[in-house]
Each structure stands twice: as structure tokens, then as C-alpha cells.
């Protein structure tokens, strides 16, 4: 792994010749969201964790708003990471928007992917005729405003001015850099493309065997969306976890580990 690539995506990875399991975080968080799941696979796999540019501890200097205006840019980044691994193929585990990023990457370079594990995926968050994405078009603006309030609102830009000196500012940002931190500009743009991109058409023609993990009661990606994914992805298997929320890998890591493990064993 080249140091430049490692820094760009804050990659955590050790090559010991085992099959590679790539974990990709969803919107609003970073690689730390896999901390209850990833360690369970370290014995059998070389686990790779990374942050998308603009999220976590990635290199923010690499964030170019004109590049990151579609999910394809993120899919290309995934392909860049895999290319640098110098492995014939990997297993990709993506949460929420990352599941779709994985699909797009597999569409561009299917030979890189042995399997895809899609945790709480949604190809489109907006209702469209019979398709129930969960939200209306007008809702998207409100989502952006809330993101702005939290990432660009007073909490992130007024405080440093009041705190004043640079040293203390660094101290403050060190405190803020806990889990799931995001750059304000990236957070806004990533929210916009995550919640308004329609990738339903991209599900067709994906031959890589996929596992879809769906929570029974998910407010962001309702169960109908999981069924839709399963129907469109012809080589997919759907596992519904009796769980509330959008992040089963955080709320029920045991069930998620078991589902992934079972699926991977069957596809070895």
C-alpha cells in the first residue's frame, strides 16, 4: 500500500495473504462504525477499513467539490483502493449509501469483487410511483438544512472564533474529532447526493453474488426497499434482522456477523 493512498483514505490494513474484506462506512459516520463487526473477521480475513474523502480522518485536501458530485466519484475511489491492494478480488461490505457505491464499483469493474455485502441499502430515498423510497422530493431540502445546521451551524464556526487562539482551536478540533466526524463542505454535498441520487437502474446486470442485510424496522430504508433490492439484484440473498433502526452493525453486531459469516462460508 502506497503511503499517499493510505493517507488519502486513512486506510487500516495489513496484508497477510488472506482473502480481503473491505468495510465501507455509510453517510454521516466513518470507519469506526465497523468496530463491533470487523474484528470478528480478522482471523479468517485481511480486514481493510477506510474513510471516504471528507469523512473521518481522510485527507481533506483531496476533497474537490467538483469531483465529488456523484456517487460514481466515491465508487472510483473504492476501485482505486482495491487496485493498490494488488489482489485479484475482494469481498466488499458497505453500509447504506456505501452499499450503492459498492454496486457502482462492481458495475465498473466486476472482476474485482468476489461478493458484496449490502447492509441497509437504498438505491433511491425518494418515493416514485409504486416505489416507496420513504421520502418526498421536498424533504431533501430539509435534510440539507439540518446537515448544515449541525456541520456548518454555530457549533462548528462560531466557537473557534470565540475560543480565539490557534492552539486552543486545535485542542477544540481534537476534542471534536471523535467518532463520525465530517468536513462541513463534504457533509453537505455528500448528503445531497446520498439522498437525491437515483441508482435503481444500476442494480440490473450485477452478477456478483450479494447479501442484503435489512432491518425489520428501518426508518431510512424501509423493508420494501430491501425487497426491491433483492428483486432487482438477481444473484442476491436477503436476510431480514428483527431489529429497529438503520445501523444493525451497531445495534445488533452479533446478528450481522453471523449473517455475513454464513453467507461467506456458503460462497467460498
Amino acid at each position: 500500500m502506497q503511503p499517499a493512498i493510505q493517507k488519502k483514505y486513512n486506510i487500516k490494513y495489513q496484508d497477510s495473504g488472506k482473502p480481503v474484506l473491505v468495510f465501507a462506512h455509510g453517510y454521516g459516520c466513518d470507519q469506526s462504525m465497523w468496530r463491533f463487526v470487523a474484528p470478528a473477521f480478522e482471523e479468517k480475513y485481511d480486514v481493510l477499513l477506510f474513510d471516504y474523502v471528507g469523512s473521518g480522518n481522510s485527507d481533506i485536501k483531496e476533497y474537490n467539490p467538483s469531483k465529488y458530485n456523484t456517487l460514481y466519484a466515491y465508487a472510483e475511489d473504492v476501485l482505486e483502493i482495491i487496485t493498490y491492494l494488488n489482489k485479484s478480488e475482494v469481498i466488499f461490505v458497505g453500509h447504506s449509501v456505501s452499499a450503492i457505491i459498492g454496486i457502482l464499483a462492481a458495475k465498473m469493474q466486476p472482476q474485482f469483487f468476489q461478493n458484496l455485502v449490502l447492509v441497509s441499502p437504498s438505491p433511491y430515498f425518494i418515493n416514485d410511483g409504486a416505489y416507496k423510497g420513504g421520502f418526498s422530493k421536498e424533504d431533501i431540502e430539509e435534510i440539507i438544512t439540518t446537515v448544515e445546521d449541525n456541520f456548518i451551524g454555530w457549533t462548528s464556526f462560531v466557537t473557534p472564533v470565540i475560543v480565539g487562539n490557534k492552539e486552543r482551536m486545535e485542542f477544540a478540533s481534537e476534542l471534536e474529532k471523535s467518532f463520525c466526524s465530517m468536513d462541513p463542505v463534504a457533509a453537505r454535498q455528500f448528503a445531497k447526493i446520498t439522498f437525491s441520487s437515483d441508482h435503481r437502474e444500476d442494480l440490473a446486470g450485477i452478477d456478483v453474488p450479494c447479501l442484503i442485510i435489512q432491518c425489520q424496522f428501518d426508518q431510512l430504508a424501509p423493508i420494501e426497499v430491501g425487497d426491491f433490492m433483492h428483486e432487482k439484484l438477481t444473484s442476491s440473498q436477503l436476510v431480514v434482522i428483527e431489529e429497529w433502526g438503520h445501523c444493525p452493525h451497531l445495534t445488533s453486531p452479533g446478528k450481522v456477523i453471523a449473517s455475513i459469516d454464513q453467507f461467506l462460508q456458503a460462497h467460498q
Binding site: G26, Y27, G28, C29, S32, M33, R35, F36, S96, F135, D139, E142, I143, I144, T145, T146, V147, D149, N150, G153, W154, T155, F157, V158, S178, F179, C180, F195, F217, Q219, L220, W244, G245, H246, C247, L250, T251
Partner: protein, 373 residues
């Protein structure tokens, strides 16, 4: 009025504290809530505990933030501070809130419970929005100031170079002028003619600069202007130039727009005289067309002149900017910069397309009077 229960000060504090308290079980259902929050949202306790989930009373954007960031953070670090969200009151109004939250693992059941403390930040939100708006405004002003500074730099550069040129010529010519020797009167006349030519060039440049800066005057009357009449007026004023170059200007039907008459006349004069000046070998042919687009009109001025490279299309509007291929032709680099300022002062946009050797087309938009919409 809140009633105190003197035997249970802790319960009083929980229920009547000046902030909202709420707890939620691992399935997202509300299990406890204090009176303050119930009062703010105008619910009674039974109604709130019967809601399918806590996210039910969050607005949509907040719900997404809750699911995608707040819950993951809580699972990872067990507490989260100062998250800005919004809640629905029962009457459909939104209430901006600031949330602190923590996650507690219930050892007996092994399930997690979430606790939230909630502050009503309606007033603070208003200040915050104003602060944000002021910040945006300050950024915009800083951007304009930077543009202005660049313009000034360019201005100083042009003054020192372009005005110095004819000035040097004048002083050189005056040096060799010999008015005491009558035999040199013919030569002197020639010299004075050259001096006059140079002063004219300087005057043209100073006039151009003056009119460019006069565009900033704020008290000019905006009124309905008949573009058809105005365009014909511009053609009449340029009549001798048109005759000299054997050119033709065709004008289609143009509407009445909302604008400043003198500036719009100057806009057409600039565009026409440019088209005549930067002509190709063919006789200049200029065509003016109009296209109505909702409450705007888009005017096209097409010529068959020299044109420019497509990548120079922004450069042509630059202040005192001249294209290298035009350096031999007279010009101040102010004409199109003026046009851009005029159109922008009217709230419109101006742009150009061209292919070198195939003429160019200038487009601009102007607002229609309200009655015409």
C-alpha cells in the same frame, strides 16, 4: 402553574426542570418523558407514550440525522453533546432543539436505553440564522472587494502602460517641434497632427474609464424602454461608420424592457461598433434577434467578423482586457467590460460564443416590464 411535591424533590426536578427529559428503549419507543417537554410540545403523557417511536416527533431532516449520525455516535461513544435538531409540536409547529444524549446498558435485560436532555433554542436559532446571514453577506462583500482590488490593480497597470505610450509619443514629438524656423512649418504641422492623434487616443481612454465608473451611480431611473427604438437610434448614430465599412445592421422585432435608457443605448453602441471594428474581409453583417423567456428577453447580436477562440469567450468581457490577436486594432479593452456591467446592473447575464474566423454572437438578457409578463 407547576405544583411541587414536597416529598419527592427529585421527581419534581425531573418533571419540572427547565429542560426536556426523555428516555427511549432499544426499539425506539418513548418510555419516559418529563412535564416540561410535554408542555412545550402540547402533548399529554398517555399520548406521547403511545407514539410508535421517538423519531415520530422529529422533523424529517432530524430523523435522518438521528438515524445516520446520532445513533451510531451513541453506540460508539455512549454520549453525544449539542446536536441541533427540530421537533414537531402537536399543533404542527416546529421547535428547534439542542440535544444531549447518552446510552445506558440495562444489565438485567442486556438491552440499551437512551436518555435525552432537550433545550428549546427557538431564540438562539434566530440569532444563529442572523449570524449565518451576516457571515454570508460579509463573504460576498469580501469577494466584491477582492474583485474591485483586482480591477484597481489592472487600472493602475493600464494607466502606467497604455496612457504612458501616447504621452511618451507626445513629449517626443514636442521635443523635435521647432516653431522658430518658418521653413519647417509643414513638418511642424505633421508633428502637431500626430500629437493631436495621440491626445485623441488618450481622451478616448479617459472617456471610456469615466463612463465605466459612472455606471456605479445609483440614482438612475429604471423605466420601460422600447428596445426597437433604441436599437434604431444606435444604428443612426453609427451611420457614418456603417457607411465607411459598407456594413449592414438588421434588427428583428424587439420588445419593451425595464431598464436605464442611456446605458442600454451605450450597450448597443458598444456591441455594434465592436462588430464593425473586428470585421473580417467580408462586408460586416450584423443581425439582432430577440427571444422571450418567461419574464426575460434574450437578445442576440450575431456578426460575421473575426471571431475569437471558444476558450477566450470569458476573457473578452475582462476589464481593460484585450485579446492578443486584436492588439494591432485600436481599442481600450473597456467596451465589453462596460457591456457586462450594464447588463449585470439590469440583473441580466451576458455571454458570447464564437469560432475563430466565423464571426461571433453576443447574448444578453434583460428584464421585461411587469405588465408585459
Amino acid at each position: 402553574m407547576n405544583q411541587l411535591n414536597h416529598n419527592h424533590p427529585t421527581i419534581d426536578l425531573f418533571n419540572q426542570a427547565p429542560c426536556g427529559f426523555l428516555s427511549m428503549d432499544h426499539e425506539g419507543k418513548i418510555v419516559a418523558v418529563n412535564n416540561s417537554l410535554l408542555n412545550w410540545l402540547d402533548y399529554n403523557r398517555e399520548e406521547m407514550l403511545a407514539l410508535p417511536s421517538f423519531v415520530h416527533i422529529l422533523t424529517l431532516g432530524s430523523r435522518i440525522l438521528f438515524e445516520s449520525t446520532l445513533i451510531p455516535k451513541l453506540r460508539l461513544q455512549e454520549e453525544v453533546a449539542e446536536v441541533s435538531m427540530e421537533m414537531w409540536k402537536k399543533n404542527g409547529e416546529k421547535m428547534p432543539i439542542l440535544v444531549n444524549a447518552s446510552m445506558i446498558k440495562d444489565e438485567t435485560t442486556g438491552k440499551s436505553v437512551y436518555w435525552f436532555s432537550i433545550l428549546d433554542i427557538t431564540k438562539r436559532k434566530t440569532f444563529e440564522r442572523e449570524l449565518n446571514a451576516a457571515k454570508k453577506e460579509a463573504e460576498e462583500k469580501a469577494r466584491q472587494l477582492e474583485l474591485k482590488n483586482k480591477e484597481l490593480e489592472r487600472f493602475a497597470h493600464v494607466i502606467s502602460h497604455d496612457l504612458k505610450g501616447p504621452l511618451n509619443t507626445i513629449s517626443g514629438l514636442l521635443n523635435i517641434l521647432d516653431i522658430r524656423d518658418p521653413s519647417k512649418s509643414q513638418r511642424n504641422d505633421q508633428i502637431l497632427e500626430l500629437v493631436f492623434g495621440s491626445t485623441q487616443k488618450m481622451k478616448q481612454m479617459v472617456d471610456g474609464l469615466l463612463s465605466y465608473y459612472l455606471l456605479d451611480q445609483k440614482d438612475l431611473a429604471i423605466q420601460p424602454v422600447d428596445l426597437q427604438l433604441l436599437c434604431n437610434q444606435a444604428v443612426c448614430l453609427l451611420n457614418s461608420d456603417i457607411q465607411k465599412s459598407n456594413g449592414k445592421i438588421g434588427v428583428d422585432k424587439l420588445p419593451v424592457v425595464q431598464g436605464i435608457e442611456g446605458q442600454l443605448l451605450s450597450l448597443f453602441l458598444n456591441l455594434f461598433s465592436n462588430a464593425l471594428k473586428y470585421r473580417s474581409k467580408a462586408d460586416p453583417e450584423i443581425q439582432v434577434k430577440a427571444k422571450l423567456e418567461r419574464d426575460w428577453v434574450r437578445i442576440e447580436v450575431q456578426d460575421n467578423g473575426l471571431g475569437f477562440e471558444p476558450d477566450q469567450s470569458n476573457k473578452v468581457f475582462g476589464f481593460m482586457e484585450r485579446l492578443p490577436q486584436h492588439s494591432k486594432l485600436e481599442g481600450t479593452g473597456l467596451g465589453l467590460a462596460n457591456c457586462q456591467r450594464i447588463v449585470e446592473r439590469h440583473g441580466g447575464k451576458i455571454w458570447a460564443t464564437s469560432e475563430k474566423g466565423k464571426g461571433s454572437c453576443f447574448y444578453f438578457t434583460l428584464p421585461l416590464p411587469v405588465s408585459a409578463i
